[in-house]
Subunit: 453 residues, 2 copies
């Protein structure tokens, strides 16, 4: 995620803003903020500690308030909403697109939702309620019901006249959708084909009906994959009877892809992707301590393995010096295999049909890496402690722990997946628990057998 | 990245394909493959071990070969190219869009590039050479020179007639670009405004000139950020004199965002994002052993710290049992802070202006988490070993290591960034080295001072 240019751009804005805030003159601050897009303002607000954040939030043009709320993370959104009264909130969100409104609806007070629904006309109210009736993370929840439809039994000329009457098209309209009398989805006609064909061309000659519409129950991940597999800008959403309900656009898909990446990166460290950089200490503690507790549990397991070998350790204290190396490098090797598997699983490239081949490949890689790393450690251990047998023990332990790492790295994510546990989140703890326990057990066990008897 | 639906869809295709391959009758395999989009075929090829991959690659419709090559990762691309002769390759890639061709040019044999250039008309050859003159990862390298331009001093009617004459528009054309006589970029006109305005409307009334064009030298990361900050579908690219050179489209931006996420996820485990799931063992070993070597070096550092306390360990062997807990949990806490900081840095939200506030916040979180976790471990240690002083020592060591973790997690990514080292890649090794070394030092040091004297 390191990103020099974005860093530079936002960092520059941040510096300008901080300087302006420090002078105490708010005019320049307001002017600076209002040259930015809502997404940029959102990013800037997330970069500010709470007192400055409140101050700047008060200076944002009220017209942008709604869009900014859509763009910030959940934790920051809550903190911004907490500073607004009901009237301000209603004013901020009532002009949002239906899909954006649906997106933040759960964070708004009930009273505000009720007020916004009251202020809407019947059609929009029904639409919002329909979108909200789909579960979060589904295509139905992502869609915008505002679509332009045409009929098949007409001509380009008629459509052009209709569009001129209608005026402005919704953002990211690249296709008009062709529907039947019962509003069933039949296909799509690109704006580009309307522009490049003679006005007398019948619409049914221009229909592209190859791609079926997205069922409203489809998961947002599948939606994102379909968009990137087919290079779509927008796609129709339908119910079980193929009735056209709305349209998903690429801007929301880009947000999903970014969120997925954040979820993975932060989830692997046991963090919530909505965690605010400046969250209150209490909240941050609560967000992190559970994860630390789980890791603590596995650390105790590993410690109890060491505990079984107290007698051995008492006799050969050098083992205590070397044992973290066996466990640690094994953990690194396991995380490498795990990371490749998690990506393969996410892309659907790994399954029962190729698990065995992957396992065999990774075991061979582990044997070679184990011999290489084990050899180095063996030599260093010999120089350090002057015992050839000790060298042999640690080299053997490393080779075995590398093999355990490969097996755990390949098999555990598949098992977690089958148990419906996200391997991207739980994988690291589990595989490093295996390599810690195996590492201590194999090293101290071999030492007990070979060095003490 | 766990992804049930994609997993299911591709896994189903994979199973069907494997079954079909096993029967040995290739007709059904070919039919199955040719129902898929090039991106889906690419994904499927990446899921197959080498022998099956070659077989399936031979069955792909030659018309799709070029697009499939564009969609696979670099390692897999090399393996596919290695199986084609020069003529096949020329046929596969010569009809690609200029930007796609530029994208894979570096992986093609020189002879093939020369042949493709020869088969092109003068205009396209010049365009390809221009795109290739920009460095990889820049806007100039990403752009497609195929753009539709119009002049400001005309009307909708004239433009519509021009478009009908011209025929089909390039994919993802949502705006036409308005240029001066010298081909300088002046602004853009949306297809949607052409469709919704009267034919007599002058073009200069429809021009949107608010957003300036992207300079060709801009980094692809900055391009991706601008696209998602402004919800663009396409954007113009210009040279230093504001001459329009080409156009970047959202499909390429989506690929960049996905690649960035992969780079981060795989980079954090010391892997190359192009690593093929089924890469030859030798190649996989080479790709991973350097990273393991770096980690080995830090493991030796930590071991040498333990080595300083051999006398203490000899006297109290319980310390050897407990010491990995202090180091391990400290590492987990540090990775949490690091992960938040890396995201903040990527989004430009973290800089000199707020580093101190973040450090202070994380130190407070660390104190509380340290007391909580330290308390638990203290109690368990007391039950296990029956020594109140030992409990005190490990609890104190944990609190101190949590503080070290917070400081390392906040400060090291900032330092790495300043040294132009990607903290997303190098961060984990560095912060866990700190918490390992600190963990062993503080715990064994306190034990020596408190328990032995």
């Amino acid at each position: 995620m390191a990103d020099a240019s974005r860093h530079d751009r936002t960092a520059r804005q941040l510096r300008l803003l901080s300087d302006a805030l420090d002078t105490g003159r708010l005019g320049p601050v307001r002017r600076l903020i209002n040259t930015l897009s809502p997404a940029e303002i959102a990013n800037l607000l997330e970069s500010l500690p709470t007192p400055k954040r409140s101050l700047v939030w008060g200076l944002v043009d009220p017209e942008d308030d709604g869009e900014v709320l859509v763009h910030v993370g959940e934790d920051v959104r809550e903190s911004l909403i907490a500073e607004m009264d009901a009237d301000e909130l209603v004013a901020a969100v009532e002009d949002l697109d239906i899909d954006d409104l649906a997106d933040i609806a759960e964070d708004l007070p009930d009273q505000v939702i009720a007020e916004v629904l009251r202020s809407m006309d019947r059609e929009n109210r029904d639409r919002l309620e329909q979108v909200l009736s789909f579960p979060e993370g589904s295509a139905g929840r992502l869609m915008n019901p505002d679509v332009v439809t045409v009929r098949a039994d007409t001509t380009v000329d008629v459509v052009l006249r209709y569009l001129r009457l209608r005026g402005e098209l919704p953002d990211h309209t690249d296709y008009l959708f062709v529907v039947s009398r019962r509003h069933q989805y039949l296909g799509r006609v690109s704006l580009s084909s309307l522009l490049t064909h003679e006005t007398s061309t019948p619409i049914n000659e221009l229909i592209d009906d190859e791609q079926s519409a997205i069922p409203a129950g489809t998961s947002e991940r599948e939606v994102a994959n379909q968009f990137s597999d087919h290079d779509w800008v927008s796609a129709p959403v339908v119910d079980e009877s193929n009735i056209l309900l709305g349209r998903i656009t690429i801007d929301d898909v880009v947000d999903i892809i970014r969120e997925q990446a954040e979820h993975q990166a932060l989830g692997a460290a046991g963090l919530d992707e909505d965690e605010d950089l400046f969250s209150p200490v209490k909240r941050a503690v609560r967000g992190r301590v559970v994860w630390l507790g789980i890791n603590l549990f596995t650390a105790f397991l590993a410690a109890s393995v060491i505990g079984q070998f107290e007698v051995t350790l008492q006799k050969i204290v050098a083992l205590a010096v070397l044992m973290p190396i066996v466990a640690g490098i094994g953990g690194n090797a396991a995380v490498q295999v795990l990371t490749l598997m998690v990506r393969g699983l996410a892309l659907g490239q790994v399954g029962a049909s190729n698990a065995r081949i992957l396992l065999w490949k990774e075991i061979r890689v582990a044997l070679i890496n184990g011999l290489l790393i084990g050899g180095i450690v063996g030599v260093v251990a010999f120089v350090w402690f002057g015992s050839a047998m000790m060298s042999l023990v640690i080299a053997m332990a490393l080779v075995l722990n590398f093999c355990a790492a490969a097996a755990a790295g390949v098999l555990l994510p598949l098992t977690l997946k089958r148990m419906n546990i996200d391997p991207a989140v739980a994988g690291t703890v589990v595989v490093t628990a295996v390599t810690d326990i195996m590492g201590f057990f194999v090293f101290l066990g071999l030492a007990t057998v070979i060095l003490l008897h």
